[in-house]
Amino acid sequence: MSVIKTDALKKTYMLGKVPVPALRGVDIDVVKGEFVALMGPSGAGKSTLLNMVGMLDSPTSGDIFIDGTNVSTLSENMRVDFRLEKIGFIFQFFNLFMELTALENVILPMMLLGKDMNECRRQGRELLHLVGLDERENHLPSELSGGEQQRVTIARSLVNNPSFLLADEPTANLDTENASQIVTLFRRLNAELGITIFMVTHEEELGQKADRIIRLRDGVVV
């Protein structure tokens, strides 16, 4: 079953009055439980495709299906809700809320869904345990290492049981050891929990850890 599917996806930006095509008709299909790496050189359209799949941006033409729903036609508020419930985001710069503890960062998406606070905390602790940060739940991001911060981000991305994780260069700002731990964690989440992962990376070694690599060049899949 397709979790992510795009159909003739195009995106053209306007640089002043000059059209700059970023995606020129991309067709991808990621099925449930897959760990897919999206790779390609700089300017290939990786980030653009990630933004489309993450519903952070709208395509110029073509369709995007998430769990079988054509999300290209959804209203802004429906897109927000869809993101909240279906997608777990992991960003390059960790992007935690600096004033929130690790646990609070993890449960924030659950709070946005209006879930009971006790349930939020219980599940948040479970996820921190899953990523190996049981002892760090009350620490602020500034008290955590880069690898730990990224693991908190991963725990947060899992909190609403999303259809898939969307990871944007998740190890780009980590040293080798921490990067390795994150990749291992991804593999474990995928293998043990069957979580679908769609990861953008420019690191060949990291890409090789995925089940499948989708290569993008000049806005098309090659």
């Binding site: 927000v80 993101r83 992007n95 809320f97 600096m98 004033e99 998406p109 709070m111 946005l112 209006g114």
Partner: protein
Amino acid sequence: MRLSIRVILFMALKDIFKDKRILALVVFALTIGYTNVLMSTAVMNSFIGLFYDQITDTTVPHIVVEPREEKKFIEHTESKVKNIEGIAGVVGVASHLNSSGIVILKNKNIGCSVVGITSSLEKNISIIPEKIEKGNFLNDKEKTSVLIGTMLADDLEVSVGQRVTLVYSNGVKREYSVKGIVNTGFLFVDMLNVYVTREEIESVFGTHDRSTEIGVRLADRDAVGTYKLLIMKQLPSDDVKTWEEKMGFFVQLIGVLKIIWNAIRMMGLLTVIVTIAIIIYVNVTSKRRQIGILKAIGARNHIVLGIFLLEAVLWSMMGTFFGLILSHVLAYILNSIRIVLPIGLLVLRISSEAILLTVFLIFIASLLAAFMPARQGSRINIIKAIWGG
């Protein structure tokens, strides 16, 4: 709308308390702004209240009946006084027979206002009987004594028991013993007035049952307009004025002062508005990426808007709370120092109405000030916010 309020409150509180020093600075600025607004209101209201009270308690009763322009006296005073006394809501009526004069002691002679009073009735319309600083008040039948305002007494260097000469406007010159010194704290009374009994001044002018004014005190000073019409119907041949009409110049002066004070108050309010707008704007600008993340993980625009608006409200509430404390402390200190103005002792009172009005104004101002930058924050483009550009 899910439980957005919980997230808004949670995030707003976390953001506010994340840096205690900044919080202290912001709250301090807002406290000063709030105190400025509240204190300027308190000073204005206390000053105007004191001025109006002094006028109506010592100089011009709530309603004044005077002879028409072409006449010197109100005729048949006693019956007119009785008529007015019968009106419900009138708490006191007394007539005066006034004259200008010169008071003389040794080689000093000073112009004055001579007020002829019925001593037993005067307490019904003024506080003069309670304001005897030295000596005693007059009796109704007393014909050889006067009361003198304290500043006038100082100018004359006269004290209780000494004798002064009073020259009336009709040229009659009489000698009196100073029975008491009147100290109302109100410049116009203490500097100008000499009080004699009505019986004495009637004998000076050779008249009876006539007066130059009838003063009326009401239970409600603000109802003067209604009572003026009622009294006008009873006394069609006389001129009936409210105290505001009688003191027109001073009331206008107060009106100008009010405008100045309100301008000062608005500046205070503007300070609060600008402070909050800057804080929210800086907050939004410095947290673009976090706002982007919040929206990316599923927060709708109204949640982001709500967080910043609630922060503004919480800040203003803290500023209001500490401003209220500071204002009361300042008022206590200033009242302890005793600010004596030419119109009397200024006692600063922070009324609950002023507090409620200021809280309301600050609350609305905070929301208005925060709205534009907060809305700007809520509409941030997620991609630009997270990845720059």
